[in-house]
Symmetry: D2
Subunit: 205 residues, 4 copies
């Protein structure tokens, strides 16, 4: 049964469809848990689109960000799913943040940035370490744009140091990842519901 909430996952793997992607797998698992709680979900694999470098809402000239942007505006919950490269979020994830930066100057009729009342959570994978730092940079940037972060708002998996196993190649999803993913869905829905019932006031100018 629908709870009236919508969630969008932006999957920021470097690999175009239809290649298998660990980030898409974990992001999808989080969407499944959100759907099980009554959320209407959708997913965009950003690398399949021509998202231009820049910090405007529309860079013109075939830029495909505007269609993704509209889906972010329509969602109550944003799932940012990224793999770890060199210990960092991907260039595709950073590009999403750069494009969302334009939202800071967009205001609704009450003078509030367009991302207010929305909730952001993260799903991070990597064959080597990075999840804590990527969480940090995602939360800081998404919060700056206006997203709220629910308690313990990240699910993740990194392999042991100097390893090369991918999340998608694990024989089974580790139990703790399963329960963390379920919890993140629960907390995201809880906070999105609370903020829908009680929207933030406008910032002080």
């Amino acid at each position: 049964m629908s709870n009236g909430l919508t969630a969008l996952a932006l999957v920021t793997t470097l690999k175009p469809s239809p290649e298998e992607s660990s980030a898409e797998l974990l992001g999808g698992q989080l969407l499944d848990e959100l759907a099980a709680l009554g959320v209407t979900t959708s997913k965009v694999r950003v690398v399949d689109y021509d998202v231009r470098p820049g910090v405007l809402a529309d860079m013109g000239d075939g830029d495909q960000w505007p269609t993704i942007r509209q889906q972010v505006l329509d969602a109550d919950i944003l799932v940012l799913a990224t793999p770890t490269w060199m210990g960092h979020m991907t260039s595709v994830a950073q590009r999403v943040l750069e494009r969302l930066d334009a939202e800071l100057s967009e205001k609704d009729e009450k003078g509030r940035p367009t991302m207010f009342d929305k909730v952001a959570v993260a799903a991070i994978v990597g064959n080597e370490d990075g999840a804590h730092q990527i969480t940090a940079e995602l939360f800081q940037a998404l919060n700056d744009i206006g997203f709220s972060i629910p308690t313990q708002g990240v699910t993740y998996w990194n392999g042991e140091a100097m390893g090369s196993v991918d999340y998608k190649d694990l024989e089974e999803t580790p139990e703790k990842v399963v329960s963390t993913t379920k919890s993140v869905a629960l907390f995201a829905v809880h906070l999105a519901t609370a903020l829908k019932a009680s929207p933030y006031p406008a910032p002080v100018e």
Copy 2:
């Protein structure tokens, strides 16, 4: 008039009282704005206490963390105020995070970590750059422990690159810092009120 909420600022300057501290100044300004909204506030300058290294709730042997910990448990809103050293939060701020790490294994009667429903915001100063990254690391660590982060939950000031001016020595507080501090107070109160009315469920085991 009280709104029933309490806020605690942990000031993590490296300088013991009564030296003037820029972090204490900005943290205090944020507390003032919270008080103006009806919040009961208090402040701890952590370096004045003997907070032992370790990751237990009480390291024994004269450890003064337990009294600070109790104040964190009693607060609805935590303000973490830190200066920037080498581009990083201080060793005192990191020690607070290490000591709060013990809370992950403490649960309330509903099986929820002790920091659930609490809101964290940050106040960061520095004569050189660092606020965005310190925000990132604070939000990630405090969120991991259980704190929720309200929209745009940080006020900050960094001087121009390679400069040596301190926030406390500015002739007047920049207007944008004033309005940001007011906004952070507004958003923290908004979220703390919402979470008090509607507490999080327990995580999935």
Copy 3:
């Protein structure tokens, strides 16, 4: 007079030529100082090329990274010049790191990664803070790929918090930035010369 060294600046602004770019300005100033010391210099504005997402040396299908890659291979000194967006290096800078990641599996005839004996330095600008953290992430990633970092290997400029002035719009370059840029050139040449005279041994397998 040439000292036999070559330097390449990769400018990772989000803006295509011929727009003015602060990162290109500071990166260019560093190249000028290197040239004054006898280094043969060149510059690539990466966003003008179609650098595909991926972690192979050549992603095929019109990927223009291979031509940039060859210039990196030919250089003794790499200057990574990036602006600050959301407190982070740009998506273009991160893409350069992702593409260089492929070099870890390329070895020379002595079993050494292709980037050994090369020196990396950084040039970072931003109207808001970020230089210290971007320095951190650049040094970690470039060092992982094989670059050595000379003492105090970064020149940078960030404006005061919540400001919107760009480096390129300053009335004059701050004296400390000028002298830091000169020093970085000096140290990069010193280390590159030392490593050219005395190449690293191969890693232990």
Copy 4:
């Protein structure tokens, strides 16, 4: 046979002696490899000393940093060994960086900061992820103070996500960690030797 070089490991575990420490174990293994190459080595477990908060070379009043500082001054190679807490370096590691910050204003007779010509490498452990980011922050801060970073200058081990195994409890040291530790020793000695033969010029004022 001695090569005339000295190395100092600062171990920044939160646990006082004689508790077993994973950071001390990996830091010690790196010292052993340095000793095998002819380096004279020593080790300080920083938490066993009363290192005061502050950013002066001597904070007075029983501050034990000055004795550690002298050992840093006497060393050609600095090994910074830290565990991972909350994804970050420890408060003890950050305190070491804060205290070394004072060195920026200390100059030798040629006008060079006291840490010039010294080489820094890192040894990082953690039951969860963090090594890449801690490497980043250590390299940035130590480089700022004057240390040079040799190619691939870090050895590390992090366990799989959400795990609780410590490096010291592994049945055997993973082969890749062993070879990486050996390589880091090799590269540190190579660079320290080169810089001893050919010291940096003074920075431009």
